[in-house]
């Protein structure tokens, strides 16, 4: 049987318009809570329009009308089958989502830490084996001079070399480090291989710099220079690596019977929480690096810088390890 389209449209038009208005309001006002009667009405309208679409499906009919009804049913389906509450920013829950997500994926963090440590060991022994490898392993000009020259220069400096550019230096550091962290996460899409390489490379640089300064007898300078910002910056990069490995794990799906899309859907909120938390940490680290780390003894005593860095590390560990525990 072929339906009488004009009569069909005339009879159903009012229901389509009503559903369209209801859905449009739900879309533009996600916080709007429907009373029970309205929910029942929405469900009724959705079922009615679905039935209309099903009726049209069986007949040779006008495609524009079908597209219109399809779009309407799709929009209503989106609203009706949304089980989670509309997003409302609860600051406490938003902040605690970060350490909770971190703890849920402890194995990924350990892998991230392990890859960096292996890189550190490699960098350490590479510099010890061949000091000429500095130019390759440390792509930063200020690290290529000998530690003794650098320490002498920094400790004898009378003028503030960052005067008038601390804020912009800090902004450059923040944005660069956040970009690197996001990139480390994104490389998880290479089944984790890219993330692994990124972390290993970071570890190599860190290990090489540490070996260079420690063996030259400037371990205190190095600790005082790196710890104030590094105690936050390095864990933040590790968190990016953790997120990358979580993403890779969901992509590969070892030991999981769920479909890939279900696995990725399950980890998406945690990835978001971890990367947002890491970005927040890097804003702090960038500020500290520009305003504190670049000042050495006698301007700022090493003991004070090291104590500051240690306190930051303890606070971060406590936050990630215990905040939001139930």
């Amino acid at each position: 049987m072929i339906i009488d389209l004009p009569r069909f449209v005339a009879a159903e038009r009012a229901y389509w318009d009503e559903l369209q208005a209801l859905v449009a309001r739900l879309e533009t006002e996600p916080e709007w809570r429907l009373p029970l009667a309205e929910i029942e009405r929405l469900h009724y309208l959705y079922e009615r329009c679905s039935a209309d679409l099903a009726r049209l499906d069986t007949f040779s009919t006008e495609p524009t009308l079908r597209a219109f009804l399809e779009s309407l049913v799709a929009r209503a389906y989106t609203e009706i089958h949304e089980t989670r509450a509309p997003i409302k920013v609860h600051w406490k829950a938003a902040v605690l989502a970060f350490p909770r997500a971190f703890r849920r994926h402890g194995a990924a963090f350990r892998l991230s830490l392990g890859a960096t440590l292996v890189g550190c060991v490699f960098g350490w022994f590479a510099i010890r084996a061949d000091s000429r490898a500095k130019a390759v392993l440390m792509p930063f000009p200020h690290l290529l001079t000998s530690p003794a020259e650098r320490v002498a220069e920094e400790e004898s400096r009378k003028a503030d070399r960052l005067r008038g550019q601390k804020a912009s230096f800090s902004a450059e550091l923040m944005t660069h480090n956040i970009r690197v962290t996001i990139f480390t996460l994104a490389l998880g899409m290479t089944w984790g291989a890219g993330t692994l390489v990124m972390l290993f490379y970071n570890g190599v640089i860190l290990g090489a710099v540490a070996a260079d300064y420690v063996y030259a007898g400037y371990g205190t300078f190095l600790t005082g220079w790196l710890l104030p910002h590094g105690s936050i910056e390095i864990p933040a990069i590790l968190l990016g690596g953790q997120a990358g490995f979580v993403l890779a794990g969901a992509l590969i799906g070892w030991g999981s019977g769920a479909a890939r899309s279900a696995r990725l859907r399950a980890v998406a909120p945690d990835l978001f929480a971890i990367i947002a938390g890491a970005a927040g940490l890097l804003v702090w680290a960038g500020t500290v690096e520009a305003f504190i780390s670049q000042y050495h003894q006698p301007v700022v005593p090493y003991a004070l810088k090291i104590a500051f860095g240690a306190c930051e590390l303890i606070a971060l560990t406590a936050f990630l390890g215990w905040a939001g525990r139930e």
Binding site: E62, T64, Q165, S170, M189, T190, L247, A268, F272, I275
Partner: protein, 267 residues
């Protein structure tokens, strides 16, 4: 093995109703991205100029604010707009595209953030080569960010309702005098042919006269090949009138056969 590319993503609801999204083509997505890149550049330029006014107070802080704002715009542009506009940016709005969940559910902020953050990999090594290749090889034309976030980019249909009076006004229709042939025509005609006929009727004034005559001749020939009505029913009907009559047969109810001259005479 390369998976078969789909042009639509169908979703079956628990009620058994199937609706589908038309997947955006790489070309339309690229155009939307170009528009977005221009929008980001324009916003960065304007904010950069505004930051220059801060130079009067402090040059260092003016530069810092400028660097942070540029970074924030480039990273947050897609995230905030797609969240606020339910899967659309300026470029996607202009091109009629929308990011939607692969299961038809509401987009969540983590999904939107993930698909936008993964642009860093999709954009490698330049001009979204990785993302473009991923689109080519994925079944639903998803770049890596879309795969990770369970999203697709779909063409948004414009909600239009048909102008039925233009299709076929309810006048006397000689084809309806043969209900068995009309029923046969309804069963044989395809949605594609119907769609072409509707487009031809609704846009008839836009064609050159010669092209219009040829189009309706071809359409009439196609419909005549499906069912042969008696000569007396077609007498005096032009090809265009015949196509309109066919559309009325398709969309009218079988009861319309009663709208015959004999019945009207009796009334």
């Amino acid at each position: 093995m390369k998976p078969k590319r789909q042009s639509r993503l169908s979703i079956e609801t628990p009620e058994g109703v199937v609706f589908s999204y038309e997947l955006a083509t790489p070309v339309s997505r690229s155009l939307a991205w170009i528009v977005d890149a221009v929008a980001i550049s324009a916003a960065s330029y304007i904010l950069g100029e505004l930051c220059q006014t801060l130079n009067l107070l402090n040059r260092d802080w003016a530069n810092a604010v400028s660097v942070v704002l540029y970074f924030a715009i480039s990273v947050l542009y897609g995230i905030l707009l797609e969240w606020r506009w339910r899967g659309q940016t300026i470029g996607k709005r202009l091109l009629g595209l929308r990011v939607v969940d692969v299961h038809g559910l509401r987009l969540q902020l983590p999904q939107i953030a993930l698909r936008n953050l993964l642009r860093l990999v999709d954009a490698l090594p330049a001009f979204y080569l990785v993302g473009g290749l991923a689109c080519q090889f994925s079944r639903c034309a998803q770049r890596l960010g879309d795969l990770a976030a369970n999203t697709i980019v779909a063409r948004e249909p414009k909600p239009e309702t048909p102008d039925l009076e233009q299709i076929a006004p309810a006048k006397y229709n000689s084809l309806l005098a043969h209900p068995h042939l009309a029923a046969r025509l309804r069963s044989l005609v395809t949605p594609e042919a119907t769609a072409i006929a509707i487009r031809a009727v609704t846009q008839r004034d836009g064609y050159d006269p010669s092209a219009r005559v040829a189009l309706f001749r071809d359409l009439a020939a196609h419909f005549r090949s499906l069912v042969e009505f008696p000569e007396d029913s077609l007498e005096g009907l032009t090809d265009e009138q015949y196509v309109r009559s066919v559309l009325r047969v398709i969309y009218g109810s079988p009861g319309e056969a009663n709208n015959s001259p004999q019945r009207r005479d009796r009334e």
